[in-house]
């Protein structure tokens, strides 16, 4: 009984830690997919609205995604020179184009062959509120992932191409 009483708390702490690490890594893996989805969607259409919609959908299973995620973007040319940056902002507060360069900025910055980098920063809510030896566990753990895609959207193509007669 004494052995069990001594070992059980340690075992439970390790087990909880194990589960927590698993959840964090799972979230990190999903963020990789979210960033890739955002970069790819923007690369195809250079449309902030559809990109934000794609990011929202891809990250919907993450807890409180809209209020916990910061999106930031950067468009660079072939040589890596920055052409436009999107200000980072909480997805839920900055509307449908949050984090992406505004239409006015991107008008001259988007060109086929440029690169878009989407960085997704997510504040993972730590479900364990406890202090260990006077050290308080953080309420949130910041996870981040970014993806870079080559822009395929060509603004020189007339918008009516492809419309069925």
């Amino acid at each position: 009984m004494v052995e069990l009483a001594l070992v059980l708390p340690l075992f439970l702490i390790l087990l909880l830690g194990l589960a927590q690490v698993g959840l964090i890594l799972n979230t990190q893996q999903q963020l990789v997919g979210v960033a890739r989805q955002g970069a790819r969607t923007y690369a195809l259409g250079a449309d902030p609205r559809s990109t934000v919609a794609a990011v929202r959908l891809a990250g919907r299973q993450l807890a409180g995604f809209d209020d916990r995620v910061l999106l930031s973007t950067e468009i660079t040319d072939e040589r890596g020179k920055a052409k436009a940056r999107g200000s980072a902002g909480l997805l839920g507060r900055v509307g449908s184009t949050g984090g992406f360069p505004s239409a006015a900025v991107q008008k001259g910055a988007v060109r086929r062959g440029y690169w878009i980098t989407v960085t997704v920063t997510y504040k993972y809510p730590n479900p364990i509120r406890a202090s260990v030896l006077g050290f308080r566990l953080p309420d949130t753990i910041t996870l981040s992932s970014s993806a870079t895609a080559r822009i395929e959207y060509d603004p020189t193509i007339p918008p009516d191409l492809g419309v069925a007669p």
Partner: protein, 290 residues
């Protein structure tokens, strides 16, 4: 008589303490090993997702480079420089195989800037140059938490460029230079992937619209579009039938085949949930384009 139990109690306590220490000594390394194993397992999954994602983006970037020039010159690896364009006057220079590979490598390094990443890109093409597939393989050394175990992990992905409008293979329905033709495009989807794909099942609730450069499908759908062969189109699919909403996007280039020819695009996967979509474009008679 009254002291004996006390002596026995002390002995028992000492024995218990000894047993506890032994138990700790035996079980703690086991727990820690388990913890490290779990952490490394999770890290491995995340790294693999990163490699596969980078490979997918690189393959798409390589294909898009070729799409810029409406094709690719079948040149041996290492031969650089632009060749005579087959996209017609004014078209961008057609990239060589080496340039396509370089693009794939560049894209991977932009996504995985850390050291120890190796990239190999293979191009499978027909004698005419198109359609061709770029397959990118990314390898990276994985170092375990205890730094003792090191092994190589890899991620692979591919993208395909459809047969574009070119002087090489003109056809009655898709002559070079941009005359538009009618295509029936089906976005097939499959939940399990990457096994055999089923065709997209018509969904009564589905709304589909295929625009010039962006297209949106809610569910699997077939649509008819009127566009020039060789133009690159994108699609996005949202699946709400599953536990989580899945969003998949991809791109394809319209082929320049004869009416009835079937062209299967490269699949796009949403890796987390193994949802895959596959565009199929079939040129049809203009009369059907309604």
């Amino acid at each position: 008589m009254s002291r004996r139990p006390l002596v026995v109690g002390r002995r028992a306590l000492a024995e218990d303490a000894g047993q506890v220490i032994v138990l700790f000594a035996v079980s703690l390394p086991l727990f820690l090993a388990l913890l490290l194993l779990a952490i490394d397992g999770g890290r491995l999954l995340v790294e693999r997702a990163r490699l596969t994602g980078a490979a997918q983006l690189a393959a798409e970037a390589a294909v898009s480079l070729a799409a810029d020039g409406r094709g690719m010159v079948a040149a041996p690896a290492g031969v650089g420089g632009a060749a005579a364009g087959i996209g017609g006057a004014g078209a961008p220079a057609v990239p060589t195989a080496a340039q396509v590979r370089d693009m794939a490598k560049d894209a991977v390094l932009r996504n995985l800037p850390e050291r120890g990443v190796s990239v190999s890109a293979s191009i499978v093409s027909r004698p005419g140059g198109e359609p061709f597939t770029v397959r990118v393989r990314v390898e990276k050394e994985f170092v375990s938490s205890i730094q003792r175990i090191v092994f190589t992990i890899a991620g692979e992905a591919s993208a395909q460029l459809g047969q574009s409008a070119s002087a090489v293979a003109p056809s009655p329905s898709a002559s070079p230079g941009a005359s538009r033709t009618c295509y029936r495009v089906t976005i097939g989807w499959n939940y399990r992937g990457p096994g055999r794909f089923s065709q997209g099942e018509p969904d009564a609730r589905a709304r589909s619209r295929l625009g010039p450069l962006t297209a949106n499908f809610d569910g699997g759908a077939t649509d008819v579009i009127w566009a020039a062969p060789g133009t690159r189109h994108t699609f996005a699919a949202t699946f709400s039938q599953f536990r989580y909403a899945n969003y998949v996007s991809g791109a394809f280039t319209l082929p320049a085949g004869r009416p009835g020819d079937r062209w299967d695009g490269s699949p796009s996967f949403f890796s987390t949930l193994e949802v895959g979509v596959w565009p199929v474009a079939i040129p049809t008679q203009s009369a059907n384009c309604r």
